[in-house]
Amino acid sequence: MSDPTRHLPPKLQDAARIEVEHHLAELVDRLIHEGMDPAAARREAERRFGSPQRYRSALERTARRRMLRASLGTMFLDGFGGAVRTVRRSPAFAAAVILTLGLGIGANATMFGIVDRLLLRPPEHVRDHERVMRILVKRPSLRRGITRSATMTFPDYQDFRSQQTFHAVAGYNGPSQQTFGRGAGATRIQVMQATNTLFSLLGVAPTLGRFYGADEDRIGAPATAVLSTEFWRRSFGADPDVLGRVIEVAGDAYRIVGVAPAGFTGVDLAPVDVWLPLVTSQGMIAGTEWHDSRGYYWMKAVARLTDGVSTEAAASEATALHRAGRLGDRYSYPPDADIELDPLILARGPAAPPESRVARWLGGVSLIVLLIACANVANLLLASGARRRREVAVRLALGVTRGRLVAQMVVESVLLALAGGGVALLIAAAGGRLVRTVFLPGVAFRDGLGGRAVGFTLVIAGLAGFVAGLGPAIQGTRDALASDLTAGSRGSMRRSRARPLLTILQASLSVVLLVGAGLFVRSVARVRALDLGLDVDRLVFVGLEFEKALTFGWEPGLPPDPSAIQLRNDLYGEAMRRVQGAPGVLSVAATVAPFGWALGSSVTVPGMDSIPQLAGGGPYYQDVTSGYARTVGLHVLRGRDLTDADDAGSDPVALISETMARTLWPDADPVGRTFQAGSPSGSALNPPWTVVGVVEDAVRDGIGDEPFMAFYRPYAQRATRPLQGMYLRTEPGRAEEVAAAVAPILRSLDPRVRYATVRPLRQIIDPQARSWTLGATMFTIFGVLALIVAAVGLYSVLAFDVAQRTRELGIRTALGAAKGRLLGAILGEGFALAGFGVALGLVIAIAVAPYVRDLLFEVSPRDPVVLTSVAAVLVVTALLASSLPALRATRVDPVVALRAD
């Protein structure tokens, strides 16, 4: 049988009919040939065939099923085959596609793990989290309009316990660092104090043993503790016999009654080692004053709403209860304080921490990076599509439908993108770990990528492949004319308008990202350059933790116990002597209020009715040992420093801060003036202090302190408060080394010292700049990534263009066009594309800028330095990316070019 000419298949619904008709027709022919008359032949044929109707419907059913399967299957197989062919035929092209998408998707996969933890998922083990609300107090404030605070007093918390619209309410405090064990083997652990109601409110079940109950969470109850699974594994080797054992936390003994499930961190995300009953443990740590005091702000609270109750109804009942509870101190407390109920997922509420807001931006930014990557891949695919035009035209002529070709090409790019997704997972695994440990150490992440991240990555990869592939596939199969079949590669290839547009888009998005990077980098630089009034890089902070007998005497509200204070100060004195001569240590000084502390004092000045209130509160005081200013690097701007001669026997003297000088004596020299601190009386405790010097402002609580007044007095003249910490001034660059060397000395100083915190001050301050460093680092990485991808895109457009125009360029060279002209033409094209991109990008950046204002530090979101330098970077990059194709254009050999096909 001869090979018949191939034909397009008929439509699915006709195929079976046509096939049967063909059979009958052939049969009739034969019967007629055998001598039957046509009518009889037809009857006989139908009889022999059997019921055509019956067969036809059976045939159609199988046909439809098969076609569906076949079209999906072949589409995938063709796509897969195409992908494999692409990898084989042009590995560089495939690698470019896979890598570009891998980087773009990798950026997203990395950010997804973080955004997912901060923004999308509730803390682990919380049942029905939408009904759990954080309780915040909104108070009108003279200085800042409205302040929103989650911190409250214990009686405030008690008020909510009778609330009808709350199904349950729970209080907690922490996690705070506490000493675990004692002596040289002591370590610091993260301790969370929580009411017994927290566990049932959240709906969590213990892994081992039980949680403490209501009768174990009251003052004087036998002390119990619950371990986290992580701490149980780390410190007890996951020993199931741990129940009933007694551990020492912050100097007190607690009996272990249970182990919380893995990953459980309560309502916040910070890792917890040990859970202690809030009331019981606070009674042991801090006495009982907090229990009834509405002036002792220390804890936070959450509530689960009663079923069917709206957040608004619950908030209004809570507000009523709060105001009623505060009736007693209506003179000191704003009567119109409101209760706000915020979502459990902190990042979704108005009190979102800066890290999570930065993370949200970075999530968006990573999408832009992916968009740029997609644009680049689309660009590459368009270029390869132009090269494959002939192949496409042939296949269309052979009867392959256009839809099928498009589908196959899209499947091919989706498969390449999925390979990119594999690369992305590797990037996310490494990048995610880095970002978590460096920028978000206070958040408990689960190990590894997790199914959600992998799923997200693959979905994003598929989408990216689809988005990048669809346009070029449609473009590549459009207008495939017969001329493409005959024209050969020298034929009239139309120049795509899509590719320059994609390049402009890439350039503009890179500009936006780089502007973002620049703004954050400037913020970090500003933060770093802040004059904190302390030589942060050269100081080591030392804080001693004493045994119980030495801590209770000075608790707020309790009368100071002079003998306990004396003992503590003696131990500080001993510590100072021990480290004084240590290698790398230049000087040592101690204070009653180190970094992070605030000791306020009322100040009266002769001749002034009252002193102005500043936004940062205060005035704050520090009583310091001799040489303090020199040790911490506090510059004396006027007058003199405190000296050893300023002792108990001499006149009371003080240093005041620049702000205090400016506020109290704006027009006069403050040196020699006097003021009184505390109650305005002439008693021995409150002598008038004479100002002997003015020092620069120093940081008190961290970056972004509002202005406040501060003064410094010689400890020798007023030893009524215990010393709380000391600073070691080290030789430049030796802070970490000194800290490591003196820590063991200080920790084994004396049995009455339970623990010594020894940390370079830089380590204490840096976390405060974390949101800016996070933004700066990630924006820079993403921005540079985008820039590289865009540069490659620009390069490929120009290089492709030059290759396409080889003949034209050859002719122009042959006709005597100057090389410089050709060079200029190609470079000009590159600059034009980059220029449009820069202009568009700057417009977008300027439009978006106001939204990031809050995230920056003392940098205008339209900072001209950033905008101009980014534009310059783009122009230089465009020059570099264009120069290679431009040089190639000038080297076109006219003879070769004209012969080439």
Binding site: M1, S2, D3, P4, T5, R6, H7, L8, P9, P10, A15, A16, I18, E19, V20, H22, H23, A25, E26, L27, D29, R48, F49, G50, S51, P52, R54, Y55, A58, L59, T62, A63, R65, R66
Partner: protein, 113 residues
């Protein structure tokens, strides 16, 4: 040689089609039946309409490939050919059939090979 044609035993049709296609390469349904008719001297009676569900079933299993073409008489027809897995299926069917005949032959040696 019997006087009346034999009805094709259930399950044999596929073997016949595979064998026919392996012999002639490619053919439309009528061509396949025509070949079987000629080779068997019209001794096998195949209900012609039953051929097509069988063809489509085999195509669905991947034993046959098909395409549309125009026959010698200028009619539009669907052509079938064996695929690689069709060739394997043929070998399997043949050995199954041989085993069957062998088994029958043990009881009735006169069936013989």
């Amino acid at each position: 040689v019997a006087d009346t044609p034999l009805l094709v035993v259930q399950g044999t049709l596929e073997l016949l089609v595979l064998k026919a296609l392996s012999a002639i390469g490619q053919a439309h349904g009528f061509g396949i039946l025509d070949f079987i008719r000629k080779v068997t001297d019209e001794q096998l009676l195949i209900e012609e309409g039953a051929l097509y569900p069988a063809l489509h079933r085999m195509e669905e299993r991947g034993w046959l490939a098909s395409y549309w073409g125009v026959s010698e008489k200028g009619r539009r027809a669907k052509y079938y050919a064996l695929t690689r897995s069709g060739e394997k299926a043929l070998a399997r069917e043949v050995s199954r059939w041989t085993a069957y005949v062998d088994a029958v032959a043990r009881i009735a040696p006169e069936v013989g090979r």
